[in-house]
Symmetry: C2
Subunit: 351 residues, 2 copies
């Protein structure tokens, strides 16, 4: 039986209903719901409505400030530091992205960091916001749980700290890289556990350094960074830039948002908006990106590959499909959402 | 027999002599020589005096502009685009780094890109320049030869496009990440070939996707990116940011500087300077970086590891050693430099 499908509007309306019922002001609930449904539409299925139950729980346990004063704390022409006042992360990062875009129109490049923020969904959601302004977007976040040690160690001090970069093209879809600094994101481990599957060697190791392939034992080991010390180093410097520089949590201070729904996470993120017109003609830039994309797409393939995929291409195709045919939600997720609706006393997603 | 060692001054003076004799104006020769010797002092032994012979050859064959007009072509408060006028890359990137630092004092964060530049040595050399100003440095370059295809393909369209990030600490050495987006840098392949050693599985594959372990057959295969599609995606977006955005070479336009010593390479790089004081108190930031470093250093180790190393720590230790005991140059390199001295009619490095 294939998974039931829902329109972006159905998903967005349900999320807004749930957040509003949990106490979030309607405008904010609508903004968060739209960004979460947009994540689902882009195929970021571990970062959209999938997260609703845990977001609601954090709100109910007092872990989120429902009436925040998100504001600029420090500012110069090329940067700003935003205090998210422990708001839902989507609200903070939308504010930061808009500020970065607005500033970059004058300064050419603008870097906006945040502290006292929270989980904001998939990185690409915010890296893509500058695209509509003929800008390149770059986003980095400190993950909300430490799933790996520094390379060679066993103390859980690092997270999968993701990076997303979105670069506009002219006729081709934008290049949108969105990646964790680990071989596998932790969400993939959870999915493998749910589906009763083994993990490939290389995703995780035990504290003794042995391969760990049983995802139900994930707590006994840790994720492996890409390229060993390189991915570990990227995770560290991203953590210093998105966390420590902004006065946000890093290392031992990171609050595990899967275990603690009450303590403010003080999540750190930053977004950079780069106005292409500051460097030269935006259209000729985008034409050269088209050229690069086409050269890559026309590369002969390695044995075992049907085609060469650009970063973001899979997500783009899912979006095209989901816009027409709806967004698939797994039966388990659908059931969970029905239970959530019942607990909140709201209409189910199907209605 | 252990390798002969030379002081940084001996190396720098020899390089300056050679560059000047090849026609570079004395001031510029001194600047390039100092940066190259600094690379050697930091243990970046594939990027210091090791490159002198090929730099001299490029100068002799007319591939470098010895009397360049390095200048800002576009500028806003948060960015600049510098035209390197086909100068030796070290001169261009020093100019860019200084401009970025100067601008960041006002704007908080400044992004300076370059085109019509050339190979500039190790990435960390420039990422570290902002440190003395209590700034974070970030540097990305398009590599000067394509050594890998996009993930899943076989067309050589990407380079190892490196990134370096330098973050100052208070009492601890700065965190200095300097990494290629491939499992192994191409220089390591060359070294393995020189030493008659096999490469580990995972560094390279053949065009049929089979492991390639014979470094003398490197031309028949390509480097593997870290984390498969992730490293490939990083190399691509770094290439778009450092190359295409600056109007510099990328993809098919990249001139292989190991094969062609005459065509201008139009190398693209960028550097970002981040003034910590714009975000908050610089000293408390650096103290928190100390804390992060110490937490990492005190992590228990995995079996097989004697200690946890921070990015840049090996390089820092080499620097401490080399400052006292001199910088080791391999006998093969020493011999090559003696031949170069003879050809140029200058005093050998030992004198």
């Amino acid at each position: 039986m294939s998974d039931p499908r829902f329109s972006k509007d159905q998903i967005s309306l349900f999320i807004a209903r749930a957040l509003e019922t949990a106490g979030m002001p309607p405008n904010d609930a609508g903004t968060v719901a739209d960004l979460m449904a947009e994540a689902d539409l882009n195929g970021a299925d571990g970062h959209g409505i999938f997260r609703l139950q845990s977001y609601i729980r954090r709100i109910q346990e007092g872990g989120i400030n429902l009436f925040p004063n998100i504001h600029v704390e420090q500012e110069k022409s090329g940067m700003a530091l935003v205090n998210g006042d422990n708001a839902q992360g989507h609200l903070v990062m939308k504010y930061c992205a808009e500020r970065a875009i607005q500033k970059a129109k004058k300064s050419g490049v603008a870097w906006v960091g945040a502290h006292h923020s929270n989980h904001a969904g998939p990185a690409k959601l915010y890296a893509k916001l500058p695209l509509a302004h003929d800008m390149i977007g770059l986003y980095v976040a400190v993950g909300n749980a430490n799933h790996l040690p520094p390379w060679g160690g066993t103390a859980m001090l690092l997270s999968t700290n993701p990076i997303a970069v979105a670069v506009p093209a002219l006729e081709e879809p934008a290049v949108v890289l969105d990646m964790a600094t680990t071989v596998a994101a932790y969400g993939k481990v959870k999915t493998a556990a749910q589906q009763g599957q083994e993990m490939p060697v290389g995703w995780m190791i035990t504290k003794d350094g042995e391969p760990l392939v049983d995802p139900t034992r994930a707590d006994e080991g840790f994720l492996l960074p890409i390229g060993g010390p390189k991915g570990s180093g990227l995770s560290l410097v991203f953590g210093l830039l998105a966390g420590v520089l902004n006065g946000a949590a890093f290392g031992r201070d990171v609050v595990d948002f899967n275990a603690d729904f009450q303590t403010a996470t003080n999540t750190g993120q930053f977004i950079v908006a780069i106005d292409i017109a500051a460097f030269g003609d935006a259209n000729s830039f985008k034409r050269r990106v088209d050229d690069a994309i086409r050269a890559i797409k026309s590369s002969p393939t390695l044995p075992g590959f049907e085609e060469v995929l650009l970063p973001g291409e899979n997500s783009f195709r899912k979006r095209e499909d989901y816009q027409v045919n709806g967004i698939p939600l797994s039966n388990a997720l659908h059931e969970g959402l029905d239970n959530l609706a019942e607990n909140l006393g709201i209409k189910k997603i199907s209605y």
